[in-house]
């Protein structure tokens, strides 16, 4: 009897967890020819043009808000003492003169770094 209840509560908990982690489809608003999607912070995003080139408004997922991720910039670039191992996987980029290296693992977590390679503004991401 006890085992049954344990299994049931486990299944219920797993279910609740699964639902909260699911990518929610966007809340879509259509008004006067405009299409908007609303994210979880309550911000509305105009996707009228995107829809016109084939992006399905219902296909936008998560919508966790534009401040959900910390992005990296030039202040995060350094040539100080090595804090990387020789076998660490990096994304290297050069303009023939200047060179940068980005930890692949870091890009995966932060998603985007906005920096300048010499005079060229670049964005590194995963």
């Amino acid at each position: 009897m006890k085992t049954k209840y344990l299994i049931l509560s486990f299944v219920l908990m797993a279910g609740v967890l699964a639902v909260t982690l699911l990518p929610q489809a966007a809340m879509v608003l259509r008004d006067k020819g405009k299409v908007m999607i609303v994210d979880r912070t309550g911000e509305a995003w105009d996707v009228t043009q995107a829809a016109s080139i084939g992006f399905d408004p219902e296909g936008f997922q998560y919508g966790i808000g534009k401040d959900a991720f910390k992005t990296l910039g030039s202040d995060d670039l350094s040539n100080k003492e090595p804090f990387a191992g020789d076998s660490d996987r990096v994304l290297g980029v050069t303009d023939g003169d200047k060179a940068h290296a980005y930890f692949i693992s870091k890009l995966k977590y932060h998603e985007i770094a906005n920096t300048e390679l010499g005079n060229q503004p670049i964005a590194a991401g995963y």
């Binding site: 990518p23 966007a26 999607i37 994210d39 979880r40 912070t41 995003w45 105009d46 996707v47 009228t48 043009q49 995107a50 992006f55 296909g59 936008f60 997922q61 998560y62 919508g63 966790i64 808000g65 534009k66 959900a68 991720f69 992005t71 995060d76 670039l77 350094s78 040539n79 804090f83 990387a84 191992g85 020789d86 076998s87 660490d88 996987r89 990096v90 994304l91 290297g92 980029v93 050069t94 200047k98 060179a99 940068h100 290296a101 980005y102 930890f103 692949i104 870091k106 890009l107 998603e111 985007i112 906005n114 300048e116 060229q120 503004p121 670049i122 964005a123 590194a124 991401g125 995963y126």
Partner: protein, 83 residues
């Protein structure tokens, strides 16, 4: 983005700042430039603006190398590393 990639973020003489919008589309991050209010989505050549002032424009991919730090700094001893 499914692979590590570098884009130029210069457009018509201005430098955009690309951040995640918080949205994904087909399991891919949709990027956002606050100053122009534009949304960007990866395509073959780079990032394409799918919404906003730069609608239809493309930020091209730049060549980059997926490698190991030891190998890269041997070629480029003055390389800056993102920490």
């Amino acid at each position: 983005m499914d692979l590590a990639v570098v884009y130029s973020r210069e457009l018509d003489g201005e430098a955009l700042t690309l951040t995640p919008s918080g949205w994904t589309y087909k399991n891919t991050f949709v990027l956002y430039d606050k100053a122009s209010g534009s949304l960007w989505y990866p395509v073959k050549k780079g990032l394409k603006s799918i919404q906003g002032r730069h609608f239809g424009k493309i930020l091209p991919t730049l060549p980059s190398t997926d490698t190991k730090w030891g190998r890269w700094r041997m070629k480029h001893p003055d390389a800056l590393l993102l920490r």
